[in-house]
Symmetry: none
Subunit: 143 residues, 2 copies
DNA sequence: AACATATTCACCACATTTCCCCACTTACAC
DNA sequence: GTGTAAGTGGGGAAATGTGGTGAATATGTT
């Protein structure tokens, strides 16, 4: 399971190191996709298959489901991990998430996320400030 | 399975390179046809047969299903891949999809699509703008 | 029918990019 | 202090992207 917050740098070739603790869980393959709030999601391929299956079964004839499926699937890419435990992030995903040099990787149990340093700091600041309100709203979800 | 977003150029003879990762899945033959939203659909022939079967069984009596079937079937063309991993896109399909020089190929699991650079950028921008709604749809899918 | 002209298609070639491996440095543990 | 593991950068071989050439086929004209 993925947990914690880690800082790395993206090198000139678009490679990022993964936290060593995460590497074992990706032995069976992994997928990156466009995530929500301008970050990237990374799933072990088992988790991804469940999601992909749902996407593929959406109707081809509805324009909004087509759009949705296109965004999610075209944004996805399966990763290979090199000998140094790094992955190569494709151009279009780097652009999407606004990744420069400084990267933050955060573990979220079944998946982890890759953020640009800037976006993550902003997001964290806002979220920490509003955490009381957010907690109250979550209450409605039964947590 | 097809995944990801790739950029290529269409040369003067109407040839486009395919992403190397896609080539193996087309060993058994492939079909291009007019797609929805002004792009081209490309199927491995196995997938195509499944779709064609569905199309043929649509009711002949509905004028819009007749139109849809004509669009997909009359536009279809089977492809051969040359030694460099390229396909030749017929004139009428190039015209249909508005393909100039800059091309985008997106993988969508069971098929992939070929877009003109322009059309894809526009389409993606609109879709990303509506990503809030997408988040809601994710919720409905139980993700 | 024969010839000239156009078009198609298979193969070739080169520049560029990608990917895999190695190496150095830093951090940490014992 | 020494050994191991991890982070980051770079080099070189292999694969890929893209344009072109020439043979084979088709088209059209005298």
């Amino acid at each position: 399971m993925f947990l914690g917050e880690y800082r790395y740098t993206l090198d000139q070739k678009g490679r990022v190191a993964l936290p060593p603790k995460f590497r074992n869980d990706l032995k069976g393959g992994a997928i990156v996709t466009r995530g929500l709030d301008q970050c990237l999601f990374v799933f072990p391929s088992v988790e991804w298959k469940i999601l992909a299956q749902k996407l593929v079964s959406l109707p081809l004839t509805q324009s909004n489901s087509r759009a949705f499926v296109r965004l999610m699937l075209s944004g996805a890419m399966d990763l290979s991990i090199d000998k140094q435990g790094r992955i190569l992030v494709p151009d279009y995903l780097r652009e999407y998430a606004g990744l420069q040099k400084e990267i933050v990787t955060i573990g979220l149990y079944s998946r982890f996320e890759i953020w640009s340093d800037n976006n993550w700091n902003k997001y964290k600041k806002i979220t920490e400030r509003d955490s009381d309100k957010i907690a109250e709203q979550l209450n409605e979800l039964g947590i």
